[in-house]
Symmetry: C2
Subunit: 429 residues, 2 copies
């Protein structure tokens, strides 16, 4: 019995741990094949998967219709149904994204550094895939294709565990990947979908250290929080994007206004959105910046000094400084100079993206050095915190952990390295 023949949601006699162990062993065996093939073969598999996504359009849309019908019966919100829904145009977008990943440069095999030792040993640090990546996500079926494509391009096997709402869509998309893999001579187990929606399987994945090499959660804060709390496998993620924009005394007033509005209001629900505006007490145009945000429809919650700038600012309470609104709301505080801004950011930033607006280069360099976040910006909107905007191609996510990859994580973040040592018979004295 292969995983694909299991009806979604079915149970077997296997424990969740045994199921994960079996899937992981199959995935790891397939990954050993991926690790030794060339980049052309991986790209070919991705192009074939994209073709299969297009060819399977009727089956994928029929599967998606089942998910939509079940979602409607369950009373899912309109926003959730919209995230779940596929149509011909969205499926073409998914297939196109897979082809774009196929066209990205393969990081595997690139040499990070090379040295020779006095004894003649030649050392190279060479990029290799991480191994088996577990992806735990919610109801967007496009994540199935995006994550599979990024893992495959970087030579990793993927074990996908999507939300129950999208189960039929996910199986149909995964089936198209299986066709692509097989047409390129790669075991289909390189991209597996967990065949049951049993929630205990998520727990088993999170604790499968030594079997799964890294977990990437894709979804809302409660999902990420659960993964971070329970995982024994390394996790690549960010929990919050509590991002600050500090308007320094020497900021250009037009730049300050434009960046503050863009950082909050371009898209209020993304992780790179500004959540707290810090206004320097010496900045002469705070009123303009605040008015621009309010006039753009942003609710502001401020400390007493901020509220003195504009009476439309509501009072902030202590929780506001640690809140990711993901909405047309921002907190605003007045600070006395760079050091006070740095202290506020050190106390409240989630380490995602923090920005300063200033025309003073020395101040900008101190901010870049001393703010300890994955991304620090000068005179730019925090909404640029995105793999595509960074020129990395598609991203698997944005990470705020201290180790491995940070900020927007794309293909390179899905690799690690090994040391290759080439000798001519050297024994150590």
């Amino acid at each position: 019995m292969t995983v694909d023949t299991l009806p979604a949601g079915s149970t077997t006699a296997e424990s969740p741990e045994a199921l994960v162990a079996r899937l992981a062993a199959d995935g790891r065996a397939a990954q050993r094949v991926l690790a030794r093939i060339g980049e052309a073969q991986k790209a070919e598999a991705l192009r074939a998967a994209a073709a299969a996504l297009r060819a399977d359009e009727p089956a994928i849309l029929a599967a998606n219709a089942k998910d939509i019908a079940a979602g409607e019966a369950k009373g899912l919100s309109g926003a959730m149904l919209d995230r779940l829904r596929l149509d011909a145009e969205r499926l073409e977008g998914i297939a196109d994204a897979v082809e774009q990943v196929a066209a990205l440069p393969d990081p595997v095999g690139s040499v990070i550094e090379e040295t020779s030792r006095p004894n003649g040993l030649r050392l190279s640090r060479v990029r290799i895939p991480i191994g088996l990546i577990g992806i735990i996500y919610e109801s967007r079926p496009n994540v199935t294709a995006d994550a599979a494509a990024l893992c495959l391009r970087s030579g990793n096997a993927a074990l996908l565990r999507g939300g129950s709402e999208a189960v039929h869509s996910n199986h149909a998309i995964r089936a198209a990947f299986a066709k692509g893999l097989e047409s390129a001579g790669i075991p289909a187990a390189a991209i597996q979908l967990v065949p049951t929606q049993d929630r205990a399987v998520v727990g088993a994945m999170l604790t499968a250290a030594g079997q799964i090499d890294m977990i990437v959660p894709r979804g809302g804060k409660s999902l990420v929080a659960r993964v971070q709390a329970d995982a024994r496998v390394p996790v690549l993620a960010h929990l919050d994007g509590i991002n600050h924009t500090y308007i320094h005394a020497a900021a250009d007033r037009d730049v300050a206004r434009a960046i503050a509005v863009n950082a909050k209001m371009r898209r209020t629900g993304i992780c790179g959105a500004m959540e707290t505006l810090l206004l320097d007490a010496q900045f002469p145009a705070s009123g303009e910046v605040v008015a621009a945000l309010l006039d753009a429809g942003c609710e502001l919650r401020g400390d007493a000094r901020a509220r003195a700038i504009d009476s439309r600012i509501l009072p902030a309470d202590d929780t506001d400084w640690d809140t990711e609104y993901l909405d047309a709301i921002a907190s605003v505080a007045v600070v006395d100079g760079l050091d006070a801004a740095l202290d506020h950011i050190a106390a409240h930033s989630s380490g995602h993206t923090d920005a300063i607006v200033t025309a003073d280069e020395a101040v900008a360099e101190r901010f870049l050095t001393e703010v300890d976040s994955a991304i620090v910006m000068v005179n730019a909107s925090s909404q640029f915190a995105d793999g595509g905007e960074f020129g990395l191609g598609a991203e698997i996510g944005i990470a705020t952990g201290r180790l491995h990859a940070r900020g927007p994580v794309a293909l390179e973040g899905l690799t690690t390295y090994k040391w290759q040592v080439r000798g001519t018979g050297q024994a150590r004295p």
Copy 2:
């Protein structure tokens, strides 16, 4: 009350978790200072610490004498007492090692990559310290100085938790570091020693996610196993060094013999020592290699085909292929070609260091590509698996995890990076 005034082993009303939280907060505050000072100031602190180690020789040796006396009273083995013992020469070696670390290039601030985007944003990935490193180690007092020096050079704060046998020595060495730090204007909390030997504090350190950024265990396998099993903080370590040397059919017989003997017998107790010898069935000089090992005093445990080579080879059982002997013992198996060797290594290697001896370059390149260990070697002794031999300077340890740093980990492995984005007022369209 500062931690230094607490007598070793004393308890306070604080819970282990509260103690770790307090020490971590102090360490993190000190690390914010370290993150913004230049490399000259960190080097100055290390040179001053080395000078203080020399100046404090009477106090340090007196403290060590207390540890030795307590150890003798407790009946510690001669080997353990030797690891614990300091004398003028060993202390000079410790001070000298601190000066050598001061002379290593500071990785912090180096630019990993720089790009410009079409919209004019300039992006840099810049090395930064990881933050607060927890070091959990056994009875060697030199680890106190080595780990402190490496953390400080790379801009990290250190929270040291040494073995109870060395408690007086460790406090005396740490006091010399405090003098060095203070003379360079750096808060002494940058290098802290846990002020109690309560074992529950180790558990509190291991679970202090968000407070301690990385844990490095230094010691025997049981310590590392416990740390890996219990830690919620990322761990940099290796558990085993089950290292293979595969003598390919096309190996030079003299090179094969020299490397096999050196890989096992140069020092049998180090993690880079060979534990399993794989002899290709087509290699014509297996008898010579086996005899050289046996004649050098190595016990060999082999499969049936290996035992047919030399009657002195004892029978191996199933556990031998997964055993790190750390002694003058090796397992030996005969394999049929490269693929069988790769399969054996994939099944039994601990991912530390695996080597091939061959004159066939195509075979060597396949081995380098397909063996999935932190270090893979061709025609060299696995005993070269060492930061010094790799030209990295002193190492904090050797890591076999998949993420972050792998193989010998020196200063660069104690850093991470952030993205710096320099704009001129860009808002995202």
